[in-house]
Symmetry: C2
Subunit: 152 residues, 2 copies
DNA sequence: TCTTTACCTGAAGTTAGGTTGAGGTTGTAG
DNA sequence: CTACAACCTCAACCTAACTTCAGGTAAAGA
């Protein structure tokens, strides 16, 4: 069995549409070389890269950031343990931050159960909104800029 | 001080741009009534609704779903404890699911540190990708459809 | 009153992340 | 050697979630 994969095979194994693979290639997330007839051929390591892409996108991490993380993973050959560690740690932090955030939100919401939120001063939701306002904000800071700024 | 808020005041207190408030109104997330001169006036409860919108969007929950959740919160007057409970529980579940998912991913990634991922059969990332493929998938199932399907 | 600031509407533009379609080529099975 | 599936490129289209712009009205202060 060939070590080379066609775009269709990669699509099938990765679950990404062929069009998405083309797209990711344009964005530099994956790479291919061509046959004499100009068809794409992929090394097997593309599947690992795509698995990482899948994780990232499922977590809502923008492709650009996924691309950046993948930048630390060498193409065409298996990454060294050190390369891999670097990337893992990068993502680990990102995940940690978001888990903490989500947990806090969940717990605040939890505290709201039954409170009826009649109080402008004590409801965590109310205050969350106002504090954010004071920071001179806008929407989507967390998800799109990396999550470093929710109330502190 | 008036119980009625103008769009500018709501913008300032909520941190959302005026244009976003117009937008949310079109989408049915918030409501306003008009002055004789056709300007928007908001009840104070709009701030609570917007705080909820902020939470949702920061968590990456699509506006349509936020709108649906808000559908359970009556407009114009303070929600009953029961109304509130319903919505809280809805979101709580969503958050729980995502926290679990993220934690699992983080831990898998953690396990990858140092493994070098040479193994096609044992690397969790590799297998994650392949399993998804076998489900006949596509990208973004988790974030956009509610997260009920990451490897069961 | 005059002027400035806040508002209004509707349409078009923006970014992310892809998909769809048209028109043409390659590779493979019969 | 001829179908036919798989591939190629490029441009256009799509949804979400907003922002920006143009052209016009309302409200508040000096």
């Amino acid at each position: 069995m060939s070590r080379e994969l066609s775009v269709g095979q990669v699509s099938e194994r990765s679950g990404f549409a062929v069009s998405a693979l083309h797209f990711y290639e344009k964005k530099g997330l994956i790479r291919s070389h061509r046959t004499s007839g100009n068809q794409r051929r992929y090394d097997r390591d593309v599947l690992r890269r795509l698995a990482i892409v899948r994780m990232g996108t499922e977590l809502g991490i923008p492709l650009a950031e996924v691309a950046e993380a993948l930048g630390h993973v060498p193409v065409g050959h298996t990454p060294s343990a050190a390369d891999w560690r670097l990337m893992s740690e990068l993502w680990h932090e990102k995940l940690d931050r978001r888990i903490v955030l989500m947990t806090r939100m969940r717990d605040e919401l939890n505290g709201c159960i039954g409170c009826g939120c009649l109080s402008t001063s004590s409801c965590p939701l109310m205050n969350s909104g106002d504090h954010l306002a004071e920071e001179g904000s806008g929407p989507r800071r967390l998800m799109r800029e990396g999550g470093e700024s929710y109330r502190s």
